[in-house]
C-alpha cells in the first residue's frame, strides 16, 4: 500500500492503557530478574559442587600417597596412624559423593529445569510485542482510511483494512491476557518449587558434617589426643624445626 502517504504508524486510539502496560513490564522485569538469579545460582552451585568434590579427592590423595610411601611400612605405630587417616579420608569422600549426588538430584537439576522455562516465556513476550506492533500498525491504517473521503476505492480499502485488523487484534488480546495471567502465577510458583530444594541442601550438609564430626573425633582421639591449642602446636613445631636447623648438615650448603 505504498501509494498512500503515511505520517506515522501510531494509532490514535490507545490500544493498551499506560497502567496495564506498566504492570506488564513490571511483571516481566520480575521474571527477568528471576531468570538471571536462577542461572547464577545454578552456575555457582555447579562450580561449588565441583570444587567440593575436588577438595575431597585431594584429601584422599594426601593420605593415599603417604600410605604408599615405604616410610609407612617401617614403623608399626606410624603405619597404624596413616592407615586410620586414610580410612577416614576415604569414608569422608564416600559421604561427600553421596551428598553431592543428593544435591544434584534435588537442587541442581531442578534449577536447570526451572531456567528452561524462560526461553519460551521470553519468546512469548516477544511474540506479544510483535502482535502489538502489528495491531498498532493496522489500527492506524484503519484510522487513516476512516479519516479519508468516502470514495469507493477508499471504502474497499477500509473494509479490507478492518478485515486485516480483526484477527490481529484478537491474537494480540489473547496473547496479552494469557501473559498477564501466567506471568504472576509463574513467578509465585517459585516459592513452592524451590522450598524442597533448600531443605534438601541443608539436610544433605547436616548429614555430611555430622559424619565428619564422628569420623574425625574418633581419628583425633587415636592419632592426636593431646588436645593442644594452636599456640602450643606452633611452639612444638617451631622447636622441632629449630632443632633441625641446628644440625650442621642442614646449615651446610
Amino acid at each position: 500500500m505504498s501509494w498512500i502517504p503515511f505520517k506515522i504508524g501510531q494509532p490514535k486510539k490507545q490500544i493498551v492503557s499506560k497502567t496495564v502496560e506498566r504492570d506488564f513490564e513490571r511483571e516481566y522485569e520480575k521474571l527477568q530478574k528471576l531468570e538471571d538469579q536462577t542461572k547464577k545460582l545454578h552456575k555457582d552451585m555447579k562450580k561449588s559442587t565441583e570444587a567440593d568434590l575436588a577438595m575431597s579427592k585431594a584429601a584422599v590423595k594426601i593420605s593415599a600417597d603417604l600410605l604408599n610411601n615405604p616410610l609407612c611400612e617401617q614403623d608399626q605405630a606410624f603405619l597404624e596412624s596413616m592407615t586410620a587417616l586414610d580410612t577416614a579420608m576415604k569414608r569422608m569422600d564416600a559421604f561427600n559423593q553421596e551428598k553431592v549426588n543428593q544435591i544434584q538430584k534435588t537442587v541442581i537439576d531442578p534449577l536447570k529445569k526451572y531456567s528452561g522455562v524462560f526461553p519460551s516465556l521470553n519468546m512469548a513476550v516477544k511474540r506479544r510485542e510483535q502482535a502489538l506492533q502489528d495491531y498498532k500498525r493496522l489500527q492506524s491504517k484503519v484510522e487513516k482510511y476512516e479519516e479519508k473521503e468516502k470514495t469507493g476505492p477508499v471504502m474497499v480499502k477500509l473494509h479490507q483494512a478492518n478485515e486485516e485488523l480483526k484477527p490481529v487484534k484478537e491474537d494480540f488480546e489473547a496473547k496479552n491476557k494469557q501473559l498477564l495471567d501466567e506471568m504472576p502465577k509463574f513467578y509465585q510458583s517459585r516459592i513452592d518449587y524451590f522450598q524442597p530444594s533448600f531443605e534438601a541442601l541443608i539436610r544433605a550438609q547436616v548429614v555430611y558434617f555430622t559424619e565428619m564430626y564422628t569420623i574425625f573425633s574418633d581419628l583425633t582421639d587415636q592419632i592426636d589426643p593431646a588436645g593442644l591449642t594452636d599456640e602450643q602446636r606452633q611452639r612444638e613445631t617451631e622447636a622441632k624445626l629449630s632443632e633441625l636447623r641446628s644440625l650442621s648438615i642442614v646449615a651446610n650448603d
Partner: protein, 697 residues
C-alpha cells in the same frame, strides 16, 4: 519503543517527523526518569525493611529469652522435685540478655525513624560500641552450650519428668510452638550467627554513596570477626577442660621415640635402587650409610608429594570459597528454608571455612614448606660425599699418599662421619614433624565439623521436615522435585503452544504474487513462510522479513548442515536457518489455471495457523444490499479475462468459470467489458452501512 512504530514506512512530512520525534524523546525521557525514581524508591524501601528486620529480630529474640529465663524457669523450679542442675542451664543467659537489652536501648535512643539516613549510622555505632561486650557475653554462653545439651538430654531420659517440662513450657508460652528447652536456649547460638547476614542484607540494599556505607561495611566485618573469635574461644575452652595434661604412653611418646636406626637398616634396598638409576655404584659399600640415605630419599619424596597434595587441597578449598551460593536473590526472604540456607552458607563461607583454611595454612602448610627447604642441605652434602667417595676410591689402596691425596681422603672421611651422625637425627625429627602435622590436620577437620554441627542445632527446629528420618526425608524431597518438574513442563508447553503462533493475517497482493511465482516454479509442497525477520550473518545468507514466502530448494547446505536450507525468495537465492521457516499450506495447492483449461484442482486442507486468504469466492447474485468490488487491481492476461482497478465496483455475472471452477468469476466491469477475474480478488461491501460520510457510487 514508540519509534519502532514508524517501521519502514516512508515519511512524507519531514517537519512533522521532527516534531514527532522530539515529542517522543521527551516522553521517553520522562518515563525513564519516573522509572528511575520508582526503582530508587523500591531500593530505599528494601533497605528500610532490612533495617527494621535487624531491630525486630533483636526484640523478638530478647522477648523469647525473657519468657524462658523468667517464666519457664520459675515454673520449672516449682516442680516437685525440681529438675536436677536446673540452674546450670541458665548460667550465662543473663549476660546475653543484658547485652541485648543495651543494644536495643541504643537503637531506640535517638528516637529517629528508619527512613532517616542517620538512623543507619546510629544502628552501626550501637553495634560497634557494644561489640566487645557482645563477644564477652556470647563466648561464655557458646562455650558452655554443650553442657546445656547434656543436661537436657538427661531430662529427656526420664519420661515423666520430660512430660512435665513440656507441660510447663506450653503453659508458660502458649503462643510459641516449642517442644523443648533447647528451643529457647539455642537462640543465642543462632542470634550471634545471624548478625552478619542481617547486616550484609542491609548493605546489599544500600548505595555505596550513602553516608553510612563505610560504617555499615565495618560493622558487618566486625560481626564476622566476632563469630571467629567466639568459636576460637569455644575450642580453647574445650581443649582446656577436656585434657588435663597427664602424659602417659600416648601416641606422642610413640612419635617422639621413633627409632630411626632400626628403620634405616630396612631401607637399604631403596638406596641401592637409586644408585642403579644414577648408574653410579661405588666399590666401597657402607651398609649403615646406605640405610640412612635410603631413608632420606623416601622421606624427601614423601615430603615433596605431601606438600604438593596439601597445596592442591588448599587450591580447591579456595575455589569453593569463591562460589558464593548464598548470594542469590529470588525475593524469597520471607521463607524459612532459603533464609536458613543463606545463614548456614554465609557462616560456612565467611568464617567457619576460612578459619579452617587459616589454621591449615599455619599449622600444616607453612611448617611443611619450612621442612622442604631444609632438605636442600643434606641432599647437597650427600651428593658431595658421593663425589668425594669416588675420588677416595681411586687412592685408597695406595700406601703412600701425596699431600693433596691426603686432603681428599680427609674430606671424604669428615663428610661421611658427619652424615652418619646427623642424618638419622634429621630423618627422625622430620618424620615426627610429618606425623604430628597429620594429627593436627585431623583435629582441624573435627573442629570444622563441630562448628557446623553447633550451627545446625539452631536450625533443626525451624525446618518443617527436619523431624523426618533420612530415608523418609529423601523420598519426600525427591518426589516433590519430580512433581514440580512435571508441573513446569506443563507450563512450558502451554506457553509454547498458545503464545507462539504467529498472528493470522490476510495476504497482500505482493505476497500473493510471490506465492504464485514460487508455487509455479517449485510446486506447492516446497512453499515455506518466514516466521520472524532474519538478517543473514554468513556468506550467501539471505535477509528475510517475517511473513515472506520462500521455496525450499535444498534442506541442507553444501556441507550437509541440515539446519541451513537453500531457498528461493522470489529471484534471490540463499541460505536461511530452517528454524525460521514454517511450512505453508495453501488452500489452493496449485495456481488456478486459465479458465479455459480443463483440469479441476484438489483443494487441500487449510492449516490452522497459516496465513489464510480471507476472501472466499462469492456466490452473490444481484442482491441489492451488497456491492461487489474489486479489492485489488487485476490485469487480464488473455481475451477471456478482464482488467479491473482496485476499488472498482463490478457486477458478478457468474461466480465460476465454464468448468464450474469457483476460483474464477465472470464479471462486468464499470466500462461494460466482461471477462473473468480471480474470485479472491473480489470483495463484498455492505451497501448502506453507515459510518458518517459514507457515500456509495
Amino acid at each position: 519503543t514508540l519509534l519502532s512504530n514508524y517501521g519502514d514506512k516512508k515519511l512524507y512530512f519531514p517537519e512533522i517527523k521532527e516534531e514527532m520525534l522530539a515529542e517522543e524523546a521527551e516522553e521517553a525521557k520522562k518515563r525513564r526518569e519516573e522509572e528511575e525514581e520508582e526503582a530508587k524508591e523500591r531500593k530505599a524501601q528494601r533497605q528500610r525493611l532490612a533495617i527494621e528486620e535487624l531491630v525486630q529480630t533483636e526484640k523478638n529474640y530478647l522477648k523469647m529469652l525473657q519468657i524462658c529465663s523468667v517464666n519457664i524457669r520459675s515454673n520449672l523450679k516449682q516442680l516437685q522435685p525440681p529438675p536436677a542442675n536446673l540452674d546450670s542451664l541458665f548460667l550465662y543467659i543473663e549476660d546475653v540478655m543484658d547485652v541485648s537489652r543495651r543494644l536495643l536501648s541504643l537503637f531506640n535512643q535517638t528516637h529517629l525513624q528508619p527512613e532517616d539516613p542517620h538512623y543507619l549510622e546510629t544502628l552501626c555505632n550501637s553495634f560497634l560500641s557494644l561489640s566487645s561486650d557482645i563477644e564477652a557475653a556470647y563466648k561464655e554462653y557458646l562455650a558452655n552450650y554443650n553442657n546445656i545439651s547434656v543436661v537436657e538430654n538427661g531430662y529427656k531420659q526420664k519420661e515423666a519428668l520430660w512430660k512435665e517440662i513440656i507441660r510447663v513450657i506450653k503453659l508458660s508460652a502458649p503462643e510459641v510452638n516449642a517442644t523443648s528447652l533447647s528451643f529457647f536456649l539455642v537462640m543465642p547460638v543462632q542470634q550471634i550467627t545471624r548478625y552478619p547476614l542481617l547486616l550484609q542484607t542491609i548493605q546489599k540494599h544500600t548505595e555505596p554513596a550513602h553516608p553510612a556505607y563505610a560504617l555499615l561495611e565495618q560493622t558487618a566485618h566486625t560481626s564476622i570477626a566476632l563469630n571467629c573469635r567466639i568459636n576460637e574461644y569455644k575450642r580453647f575452652r574445650e581443649v582446656a577442660d577436656k585434657y588435663k595434661k597427664t602424659e602417659s604412653l600416648t601416641i606422642r611418646d610413640k612419635i617422639n621415640r621413633l627409632n630411626t636406626h632400626s628403620i634405616a637398616k630396612k631401607t637399604a634396598r631403596f638406596s641401592q635402587h637409586l644408585k642403579h638409576e644414577t648408574g653410579i655404584k661405588p666399590k666401597l659399600v657402607d651398609e649403615e650409610f646406605d640405610a640412612f640415605e635410603g631413608f632420606f630419599n623416601i622421606l624427601e619424596n614423601g615430603i615433596l608429594v605431601l606438600l604438593e597434595n596439601v597445596e592442591q587441597y588448599l587450591l580447591h578449598l579456595q575455589r569453593f570459597l569463591t562460589c558464593k551460593t548464598e548470594e542469590f536473590d529470588f525475593e524469597m526472604d520471607g521463607e524459612k528454608s532459603p533464609i536458613c540456607y543463606k545463614e548456614i552458607t554465609t557462616a560456612l563461607r565467611q568464617w567457619i571455612l576460612p578459619t579452617f583454611e587459616k589454621r591449615t595454612r599455619t599449622l600444616v602448610h607453612k611448617p611443611l614448606c619450612a621442612l622442604r627447604d631444609l632438605l636442600v642441605g643434606p641432599r647437597n652434602l650427600i651428593r658431595k660425599r658421593l663425589d668425594k667417595l669416588l675420588d677416595f676410591e681411586m687412592i685408597e689402596s695406595k700406601s703412600n699418599l701425596s699431600y693433596e691425596e691426603q686432603a681428599v681422603a680427609n674430606t671424604y672421611r669428615t663428610i661421611n662421619t658427619l652424615l652418619l651422625n646427623e642424618l638419622p637425627r634429621f630423618n627422625g625429627l622430620a618424620l615426627q614433624l610429618i606425623w604430628s602435622m597429620l594429627g593436627t590436620f585431623s583435629c582441624l577437620h573435627r573442629d570444622l565439623a563441630a562448628d557446623m554441627e553447633q550451627m545446625f542445632q539452631s536450625f533443626a527446629q525451624q525446618l518443617p521436615h527436619s523431624s523426618l528420618d533420612p530415608s523418609a526425608f529423601w523420598k519426600w524431597a525427591e518426589s516433590e522435585v519430580l512433581e514440580s518438574g512435571r508441573k513446569l513442563q506443563t507450563v512450558c508447553r502451554s506457553v509454547e503452544d498458545s503464545l507462539n503462533a504467529p498472528a493470522v493475517q490476510p495476504l497482500s497482493p505482493s505476497s500473493q504474487r510471490r506465492l504464485k511465482q514460487l508455487t509455479d516454479k517449485h510446486g506447492s509442497g516446497k512453499i515455506y513462510q518466514v516466521m520472524s525477520t532474519v538478517a543473514g550473518s554468513r556468506d550467501l545468507d539471505l535477509n528475510l522479513t517475517r511473513g515472506e514466502f520462500v521455496a525450499v530448494i535444498s534442506e541442507a547446505d553444501t556441507r550437509g548442515d541440515k539446519r541451513r536450507w537453500l531457498v528461493d525468495a522470489g529471484g534471490r537465492r540463499g541460505y536461511v536457518s530452517s528454524s525460521k521457516l514454517i511450512r505453508y499450506h495453501q488452500a489452493m495447492e496449485d495456481p488456478p489455471p486459465s479458465p479455459l483449461l480443463n483440469t479441476p484442482l484438489d483443494v487441500t486442507e487449510r492449516r490452522r495457523h497459516s496465513y489464510t486468504p480471507v476472501y472466499k469466492p462469492m456466490n452473490v447474485m444481484s442482491q441489492p444490499c451488497f456491492q461487489v468490488m474489486a479489492a485489488y487491481s487485476f490485469t487480464a492476461r488473455g481475451n477471456h479475462e478482464v482488467s479491473v482497478q482496485a476499488g472498482e465496483p463490478v457486477r458478478v455475472l457468474e461466480p465460476h468459470d465454464k468448468r464450474g471452477n469457483p476460483e474464477w468469476s465472470l464479471v462486468e466491469a464499470t466500462g461494460g467489458q466482461r471477462g473473468y477475474v480471480p474470485s479472491n480478488y473480489l470483495t463484498v461491501m455492505p451497501m448502506g452501512a453507515e459510518p458518517p460520510g459514507f457515500r456509495v457510487f
